[in-house]
Structures are given as C-alpha cells and as structure tokens.
C-alpha cells in the first residue's frame, strides 16, 4: 500500500497543470481517488464529516443489482437452450449468458465512461461516479442479442444528450439509462420489440414472446405461470425478469437508505390501483388480468426499484416523491393496457414523470411559500 501511495505521489506532478500529462488530470484524479480516499481535511464549516461519499453511495446501488445481473446471465443461457428443447446444467447456462452479457457491459462502461472522462477533462472537473450505476443498469434493460454498435450509439447519445449537455451528474432531467433504452427502442425497433429478440439466438420455430407481448395480442392461454414470472424463468431484457431478486436488491437499497422507500412503495401502489380499476372495468381480457400480475411482468418491478428511485431525476421533496411514484405506477399500467404500439409502459411512464418531477416539486414548494406568506399576513393584520 505504501509503495503504491509513493508511486502515485511521484506521478502526481506530471498530471498537474504544467505537467506533461496535464490533459489527463481528471483521469488521474479518478484513478487516484478510486484507489485512495483523499487526504483532504475540512477547511470551513463543520470540522467532522460523515464517512459516506458519492463512491460509497453508487457502489451500493451496483451491489444491489448484482443478484439480478447474475441471474439474468443464467436466464439468457436457460432460455436459449430451452428454445432448442435442451436443459443443460447451471454452469453451461450461466457461461452462455456470460458470453452474451459481458460484451454488453464492456461496451456500456467503455463508451459511457470514456465520454464521462472526456467531459470531466474539458470542464476541469472530477469524474463523477454517477455512470458507475448507469453503466450497469443499461445492460440489464436491453435484450441479450442487442447489436453492440447500436448499444454504443445509444450509450453515447444518452450520456451526451441526457446528461452532459445539462451539466453532468446531478443536473440531468432524464434518467440516462432509460434514455439509452428509449433511443434504442425508437431508433432500432426491430431489435428492441416483437417476439424474436428476447431470447439469444433462439430456434426460429420457438415462440420467444414475453408475457407482455402475449398479453398484447390477447394470447393468454399459454401465459407463463405466476411462479415463473415472479422468479424470472421467462424471456425478457437481461435483468428485468426475476421480480424476486429485484425485490431483494430493493430491500438492500431500502435498508441502506440509498433509495427512497416512498417512491418504491408508491410506484407499486399506483400500479396496483390502476390494475384494480381495469379489473373492475373489465372491457377486455387484458383488463381482466389480475392487478398483481402486472407487478411481476415486464420491467415494472425493475423500473420501480432501480429506475424510478434515481434521486436526480425523481421528485426531490418528500411529499412530491409520493405523487411522482404513484403517477409512474398508474401511467405504466395505463400505457401497457391501452397503447397497442408499446407493450411495455414502464420506460415511457418514468421518462414522462422525469419531465414532470420538477413541476411536482414546484407545486409542493409553492405551498410552503404560501404558508409562510400567510403567517406574515396574519401578523400584519394583528
């Protein structure tokens, strides 16, 4: 450890302004602070500080998605071999999935972090840790067979136009991971929807439709069992299938206090309520689908736990979080059932509410301001 520290201290001057690698200052800082928590001390204000920092926060989100990521890799293999009628052992399934998913992760991190480092250097900022999370979320919400060049373009689009043009992590309006997915969805719909894409290299004759796809066309007779949907033995995006493991990740985020329980809870509440309303209405078979089944289909749970709770793009006021989450849940089910063009409503519901989150906050804060002005007027009247 000491040798490493000495080595870094020796190299540091080269990366400072005036040094021969001054153009890589941000990159050096990123690597140095990755290895060592810096020796900076407080200089104004409180003399002691909490041990948490942005790296700690972000790494905990990454940890929370690890179970669903590992399961997702296994499931990619499982679904592939299933389409051929084969049932190999766990390791074979997993290795097949690993071979499919690892390149996606590498491209996601490579392209995204590359752009982040570049922008940090241009702005003379530290590299922000936000992309550590975005970079692992993107592979989880795309189909296993996504062409890597398309993914690279989507990642670049999302990082530049959803994040950096707004000023980087903390300033963005849209969730960058969902923006990447939305870009893929609208730019390359052939690789992002239909029944062909959700199982890697499947046998052509085998139907690879997701439950959502089948519900869309009214094909309810060979719907997977709720057990399979809950535990995730269904085709779909890499990380979205196992509601069970997503909930475990969610529990981890709630215990560590990283994600807002208010948002998570209200997304599910909103979704359930909308589902119940449709159940009562019951105009077609899709509306009659039990409300709770919506929770374990498609990307609903994944969106509720990992996407809606993004602190930057969600509502920031305590009360606002309830409204924000509730509306996401309702809209997601509404889009699913009513819009024939989009089998999955979660992505669009969250992106839409990203736009409205500042408005929700504005209304909440306005009511606080009104209360204050009213108090002042009462005093004046006395």
């Amino acid at each position: 450890m000491k040798a490493l520290r000495k080595f870094l201290d020796k190299q540091k001057p080269h990366f400072k302004p005036g040094g021969k690698f001054e153009k890589l200052e941000s990159s050096f800082d990123a690597f140095e602070t990755f290895l060592f928590v810096p020796n900076t001390v407080t200089h104004s204000g409180a003399h002691i500080r909490d041990a948490i920092d942005m790296k700690r926060t972000m790494i905990f989100v990454v940890l929370a998605v690890v179970p669903t990521l590992l399961f997702g890799m296994w499931n990619v293999g499982y679904e592939h071999y299933l389409s051929f009628g084969q049932h190999p052992d766990v390791l074979t399934n997993f290795l097949y999935g690993l071979g499919k998913v690892l390149p996606i992760i590498i491209v996601s991190y490579g392209v995204g972090l590359g752009i982040e480092f570049l922008f940090a250097q241009i702005r003379h900022h530290e590299v922000n840790e936000g992309y550590l999370v975005t970079g692992i979320l993107i592979p989880l919400i795309v189909p296993p067979d996504i062409p890597l060049w398309e993914l690279a373009i989507a990642v670049a689009f999302a990082v530049i136009f959803a994040k950096e043009v707004f000023g980087g992590t903390g300033m963005n309006v849209f969730n960058p991971a969902l923006t990447a997915r939305a870009f893929l969805f609208f730019a390359y719909p052939g690789n992002m929807s239909g029944e062909k894409v959700w199982i890697a290299d499947k046998l052509d004759s085998f139907s690879g439709a997701t439950p959502l796809g089948q519900a869309m066309i009214g094909n309810f007779h060979n719907f997977p069992s709720p057990h399979d949907m809950f535990f995730g033995f269904i085709p779909g995006s890499v990380g979205e299938t196992s509601t069970f493991l997503i909930l475990i990740g969610g529990l981890f985020l709630l215990i560590t206090g990283i994600a807002s329980w208010r948002i998570m809870l209200s997304v599910f509440a909103g979704g359930l309520l909308m589902g119940f309303i449709f159940n009562l209405w019951g105009a077609n078979q899709y509306m009659e689908l039990p409300a709770w089944e919506h929770m374990i289909m498609g990307g609903f749970a994944f969106g509720a736990v990992f996407m809606a709770t993004d602190p930057v793009t969600s509502a920031q006021t305590t009360k606002g979080k309830y409204y924000y989450g509730f509306l996401i849940g309702m809209l997601a089910i509404l889009i699913r059932v009513f819009n024939p063009a989009y089998p999955e409503g979660m992505m669009l519901a969250i992106l839409l509410m990203n736009v409205f989150a500042p408005l929700i906050d504005h209304i909440i804060v306005k009511s606080n301001i009104k209360k204050r002005l009213k108090r002042a007027k009462v005093v004046l009247a006395e």
């Binding site: 450890m1 490493l4 520290r5 602070t33 290895l35 060592f36 928590v37 810096p38 020796n39 900076t40 001390v41 407080t42 200089h43 104004s44 204000g45 409180a46 003399h47 002691i48 500080r49 909490d50 041990a51 948490i52 920092d53 942005m54 790296k55 700690r56 926060t57 790494i59 905990f60 530290e126 922000n128 840790e129 936000g130 000023g167 980087g168 992590t169 903390g170 300033m171 215990i255 560590t256 206090g257 990283i258 807002s260 208010r262 602190p311 969600s314 920031q316 006021t317 305590t318 979080k321 906050d361 804060v365 606080n368 301001i369 209360k371 204050r372 002005l373 108090r375 002042a376 005093v379």
Partner: protein, 449 residues
C-alpha cells in the same frame, strides 16, 4: 400545563472527550479579541500597540455603527494588533497585568433605569455585542426594538458545555441581567431550557421570562429552533438573542459597575487528556488549557464545537461567542479503498456503514472529508436532520443562484448557517453548506440595508 417542544428531527453525534464537571482556574497571560467574530463589523482601531488598557477600555468600534464599542476583557497592555491580507484586522492581543482592574461604569438598579440609559451603558461597557439579532446573526442595532428576546439555556451540540454549571450560584446576578433585557423589549423574553437536563434553579426560577421546555437531538438547543416554535420570524421582524454567561456579565455590570466577563470555558474533545472547565474571561488564550493536556499528533484546535467552531492554533484565542474549545485529530491521511471496505468503526448516519447498528458508541472523529466534492445527487437526507418547515436543499440552491426573492420566500430569515451544520456533516456531495448559507445571509443583509 407544561408544554414540552419535542424536536424529532436532528442528530446527536456522540464524541469522546466530554468535559468533566470540575472547574480549574486558568492562568492566561494573553487575551485576544477577534473582529472576525462579529459578522459585518468593519473595525476602526482606537488603541495602538503599547497602550495601557483596563477592563472595559474601548479597543475598536464598528465603522458603520460607531456607537458599538468593543472593549478589553482585562487590564494590561496591548501587545499586538495582528492584521492579515489587505490589512484585515485579525486579532487585538492584550497582555493581562493580572490585576483585572476595570473602568467604573457606575452601579444602577436596572428596574429603575430607563431604556436609553441602559442601552448607553451596555454600549459604553462593550457588552452590547453580546446581544445579537435574527435574521443574519449580526450584533443587534441599538436603535431597533425586537419583538422578543431569546435565551438558549442549554446547548445540544456535540460535547456541549453544561450551562447549568456556568450559572451555578449566580441567581441574583442572572436575574439582574434579565431585568436589563426586560427593558429592551416590550415583547416577551423566552428562556428555553432542556425538559430533563436543565436542573439549575437559576434558570427555572428566573423571573420576567417565559420558560419553555425543549427536548430532542441536536439542533434542539439552537436558537433558531426555539424561535421557529415560539415566535417565527416574518419578513421585517427582528428577534434578539443572548447567551447566559453574557447575561451574567450584564448583570455584574449593573450590580458592581465593573466590566467583568468572567466565564467558564469547557475544554473538550478526544485528544484532551483531562477535559474540564476553566474559569477565565472573554477571549482567553487556549495555550495554558492545552499545554501538557493534549495527546501527541497532528491536532485540530477549535474554538467552539466541532460543528460550527473556528479553527485556531494551539496558542489561539477563544472566540467572543464561544464557551468551548475542542481538540480532535487532523485527518490528513490517505485510505486505500476506504470507500469500498466495510468500514467498521467509521461514523456515518447512512446505513452504508455498520455504524447504524450501534447507537451508543462514542467516536474519536478526525477532520478528514472522506471524499471529494460533487454536485447534489442524493435527496431527502437533509430533511432528516433539519427540524424546520423549510426545504433545505431548495434553499441552498436558491442561495447558489442568488435568487433574492426565492431565498426570502423559502425562509432564509428564519435560519442561520449553524442550523445547516448537520446537513453539511452528512452531505454525500461534501459541499461547504454553512459557507453557502452564510454567503446567502450576507447577500440578503446587504440587499435589504
């Protein structure tokens, strides 16, 4: 019926090094008055190096409010007038002759003295600066009349000194001080005590005041919290506040005619060998408090508490408004993968470290920032330690963009930078929130004057 204000939001940071309740005399040779303690004060010197002074002799005045004098706490000789960059006045240092001779300001019974005469006496003696106003936490303007005066009779900050001990056995003097304050406002005087911890009859039997009981984690002792619950500040309103030991000095001024700021200062912190109380005067040098009484190593000396105090060196002076000195280790070390390791024994409110499983542990915390500064990402954290009906993050952002109207609407008059100290401690983005809030308050003050 007794109402108790239960403050629910907040945080008690448990540190090692609580002051033992014993009082030692402090043999301090040097005393220093720091003009930087007084927000918005532009000092103009009245003495030069080598001048002889008595306790109560004026040292400097405020250029913009000439009637406000700052006086010497002891008798002796001016040894140094220390200036910093751009000739900014940093410290006026007085070498005590150990006689504690005071100018005679004359005895008078505050009950029969009129308001003008009382204010005049406080100004001349140099005790007036002990009375501060909200908003802005500047020295009160003698031409104003506040709607109320607040006296916090307990401190809830980490390693807080015990106010009961400070006023012990001085009931008569304290009441004389309260009689003085009673002349300054036609509104109420609120004396705010801790529901359980305050035992002193000096506080509980005080007259001419309304006693209110508070309990809960820090900042339950902050004056802003008391104001917010009892008499919230609206635009254009003024509230004054004074701390108990200054009320004692005011009482003594009227009872004896002498400028006598005798007070207890608590020496605290994990790096002190024998943390205890010292009896001294305003502006005492800490050198003899900490001599042979601190652990070895790179240390941070703080005048005040770890949340809001000022960094001083081991021969620095206790600030005008401070009654506590804290010594903790500096944190200028690197830590390999510190952000990724489990981090047993580290202090964190967040549940990302195991600290939350052990609430009773007392910490030896250093000054390491534990990370780098970032944009605001996390939300909903500040609200947990901020017991006001104010949106902290929104207010901070309004200050950063210098939106005067929004700052006003979001309640900047009701708070002080110290109320944001806990937000600063727990901030994931490691921003200097107290400095931001202070700048916002100064911007408002200049805009409004």
């Amino acid at each position: 019926m007794l109402t108790v204000f239960n403050i629910k939001k907040g945080l008690d940071i448990r540190l090692l090094g609580d002051a033992e309740k014993t009082i030692s005399g402090l043999d301090s040779r040097l005393f220093g008055i720091k003009p930087t303690d007084f927000i918005g004060c532009f000092p103009k010197m009245l003495v030069k190096e080598g001048d002889e002074v008595k306790a109560g002799s004026p040292l400097f005045f405020d250029k913009y409010r000439e009637e406000i004098l700052f006086t010497s706490p002891v008798s002796g000789k001016i040894t140094t007038i220390r200036r910093g960059a751009k000739r900014k006045l940093l410290e006026v240092i007085i070498e005590s002759d150990k006689k504690h001779e005071s100018l005679d300001f004359g005895t008078s019974n505050p009950v029969n003295t009129d308001r003008e005469a009382i204010i005049d006496k406080l100004l001349k003696s140099g005790l007036w600066p002990a009375i501060r106003q909200r908003p802005y936490s500047v020295i009160a303007n003698p031409k104003d009349e506040p709607k109320a005066i607040f006296i916090p009779a307990f401190d809830s900050s980490p390693l807080a000194p015990d106010f009961d001990l400070m006023v012990h056995g001085q009931g008569e003097t304290f009441q004389a001080g309260l009689d003085v304050l009673a002349k300054l406002t036609t509104g109420k005087i609120f004396l705010n005590v801790h529901a359980e911890k305050t035992k002193s009859k000096v506080f509980l039997n005080a007259k001419k005041v309304e006693i209110n009981h508070f309990r809960g984690p820090h900042p339950s002792g902050n004056v802003s919290v008391h104001i917010s619950r009892l008499s919230p500040i609206n635009k254009g309103e003024l509230v004054w506040y004074v701390y108990p030991q200054d009320i004692l000095a005011i009482g003594r001024l009227f009872l004896t005619g002498k400028h006598d700021t005798s007070r207890l200062v608590a020496l605290t912190g994990s790096e002190t060998k024998h943390p205890r109380y010292f009896k001294t005067f305003t502006g005492a040098s800490v050198v003899n408090m900490v001599k042979d009484n601190v652990e070895t190593g790179d240390l941070r000396y703080i005048s005040g508490n770890v949340l809001t105090g000022d960094k001083i060196d081991n021969s620095g002076f206790v600030g005008f408004y401070h009654t506590q000195v804290t010594v903790i280790p500096e944190g200028n070390y690197y830590e390999l993968f510190g952000w990724a390791l489990p981090g047993f024994g580290k202090f964190s409110v967040s549940h990302t470290y195991p600290a939350f499983l052990n609430h009773s542990k007392k910490y030896r915390l250093d000054t390491n920032l534990h990370g780098g500064e970032r944009a605001y990402v996390m939300t909903g954290m500040f609200e947990k330690v901020f017991p006001f009906d104010i949106y902290p993050l929104q207010l901070i952002k309004a200050i950063l963009v210098e939106d005067i109207d929004l700052m006003e609407n979001l309640g900047i008059y009701e708070i002080d930078s110290e109320d944001f100290a806990l937000c600063e401690v727990i901030d994931t983005s490691k921003t200097e929130i107290q400095e931001i809030v202070r700048n916002g308050l100064e911007l408002m003050r200049k805009e409004m004057s």
